[in-house]
């Protein structure tokens, strides 16, 4: 579904991503794990069109999307939930979700989207008319995910969805990611919480200093001694 080949991205003067190769098949949950500053977010941003790749290829459903701007990529079916949620403060919960469906023209599809998001996150329905800035961190994460789902993506990119959340919310967020995936959306997940991420992922890639160091199924990486030492605390 998504194929990244020899991707090189510079972040200012820093060479943040060096010749990265990986791919995602339809229906999978794929995770990129690695330390802070390893280049995971940069990879994600170049897929979603916020950053331009210096060289290399990003192919989505057989077509190159390197030169596309972010709105075009959303229209093609890839939605990103950015790190730190980035909901729209000052807009109500409902308006945030409406913005998620910005490119959806069919009003019955928008209604259906609201239905699905509210079914999955009932708390958003309760707080529909509240300023999104007044939500708790966990609720904001749900809103950010709901907003991305409103675009009805085929592939969803999640950047550190569990960051800064209370443990009770962390488990809930991972359950929701599995649910979203079982409903047919392919997932690319970036996490510092490597243990959780690998336990729900079909496959994982270990990213360090802008390169892919290791790959395998979620289970394999969980069992791998090097991965355990470096990322799983033991």
């Amino acid at each position: 579904m998504l194929k990244v080949s020899d991707l090189v991205v510079n972040y200012g003067v820093i060479n943040a991503v060096k010749k990265v190769n990986f791919e995602i098949n339809q229906g999978e949950i794929v995770t990129l794990i690695g330390a802070n500053g390893a280049g995971k977010t940069t990879i994600l941003k170049s897929i979603s069109g916020l950053l331009k790749a210096k060289s290399g290829q990003i192919e989505y459903e057989g077509k190159s999307i390197n030169r596309q701007k972010a709105p075009k990529i959303v229209a093609a079916g890839i939605s990103q939930v950015p790190e730190g949620r980035h909901i729209f403060p000052g807009l109500s919960v409902k308006e945030n979700l409406q913005m998620g469906a910005f490119l959806v023209k069919d009003s019955s599809k928008i209604r259906q989207g609201f239905q699905e998001v509210y079914d999955r996150f009932p708390v958003l329905k309760e707080r529909e008319n509240q300023d999104a800035a007044t939500l708790s961190g966990g609720e904001q994460q749900m809103l950010a995910m709901g907003r991305a789902l409103m675009a009805r993506p085929k592939l969803i990119l999640l950047d550190e969805p569990s960051m800064g959340l209370a443990p009770i919310f962390i488990n809930e967020i991972f359950d929701i990611i599995k649910e979203i995936n079982s409903n047919g959306t392919t997932v690319l997940l970036i996490e510092q919480n490597a243990k959780k991420a690998l336990s729900i992922a079909d496959r994982g890639y270990v990213v360090a200093s802008g390169e892919i160091k290791m790959t395998g199924t979620g289970g394999e990486l969980l069992q791998n001694e090097d991965v355990q030492k470096a990322y799983l605390g033991g």
């Binding site: 701007k69 709105p71 980035h86 403060p89 807009l91 409406q98 910005f102 490119l103």
Partner: protein, 292 residues
């Protein structure tokens, strides 16, 4: 007391003009964090357009007003496209200096093309004064106030209710996140310039009717006053700009009426300084607290 109410009436009319202008400053600042110093000159273009179409094409008030709004909107979009868009990722000071440059270009360009003479604006509406308990109020003052209020209500509806209005708010709080939901930020920024500049165009026609005289440099002082009004109300806040505009207008006429005519501008800036000392973000401004 009569004099006071008289000055409030005069201040409200002048304040409507400042409010319309201040809205443009505040919206543009809200979305791209630029003080668009050329905004006062769009108001001048609106006034000149009104002057031209009323004299040459015999437009009535409504036609002149609406067409001046279109001219304002188009000029705003064109200025943004050629002058500010190429500098989108440059330091803010670069764009600011460019805005000052655009302002000089418009002022001197108009002086060069059409001479810097002051012209008298055609009075398409016969002035009548109504005496209400000793307070004189003219039909033109009412017209200005009503037009300004209608435009402000429309603007508020556009910002709150329409999809583009919501997109404007989304881009102004977080443009990257807006791109990620599929909002084209460039189109949204153009739309914001169009809205703000159309209000400036309308204000130009209204001031022509009110003061009866226009010239290519007419945008400078009201432009700065409207900017002060926007800062006073809390730059980036739409209701703040309206309230700030009315406040500046009323203050100015009140101080004029008690014989401080020569100091009216000093008083306006003095009030700005005092309010900013007490409320650094302005009356309606938000003190930004960022959640990480």
């Amino acid at each position: 007391m009569q004099i006071f109410f008289q000055q409030v009436i005069n201040g409200l009319s002048l304040g409507s003009i400042y409010a319309l202008l201040a809205l443009g400053y505040t919206m543009v600042y809200g979305i791209i964090k630029l003080i668009n110093f050329a905004h006062g000159d769009i108001y001048m273009l609106g006034a000149f357009w009104g002057y031209y179409v009323i004299n040459s094409w015999h437009f009535n008030f409504i036609e002149a007003l609406l067409s001046a709004m279109v001219v304002g909107a188009v000029s705003g979009v064109v200025i943004e496209y050629f002058a500010y868009r190429p500098l989108r990722h440059s330091p803010r000071i670069t764009a600011l200096i460019t805005a000052i440059g655009v302002s000089f270009l418009l002022e001197n360009g108009m002086s060069y093309l059409f001479s810097s003479n002051t012209r008298s604006f055609p009075q398409i509406i016969q002035q009548h004064n109504y005496n209400i308990g000793g307070v004189l109020i003219s039909n033109i003052q009412i017209l200005i106030l009503v037009t300004a209020c209608v435009l402000m209500v429309l603007l508020q509806l556009i910002i709150k209710k329409t999809k583009m209005g919501k997109a404007m708010r989304a881009v102004s709080v977080d443009s990257d996140a807006a791109e990620l939901v599929g909002i084209n930020t460039n189109v949204t920024i153009s739309f914001t310039f169009a809205l703000g500049s159309s209000l400036a165009g309308a204000a130009g026609v209204l001031i022509g009717l009110y003061y009866n005289s226009i010239d290519p440099l007419m945008g400078m002082t009201p432009g700065i006053k409207a900017f002060v009004a926007a800062v006073l109300g809390g730059i980036g806040s739409v209701p703040g700009a309206s309230v700030g505009g009315f406040l500046i207008g009323i203050l100015e006429t009140l101080f004029q009426s008690i014989g401080l005519s020569a100091y009216k501008d000093a008083v306006v800036y003095g009030v700005l300084i005092i309010i900013l000392l007490i409320l650094p973000a302005g009356l309606f401004g938000k003190n930004k607290k960022e959640k990480v």
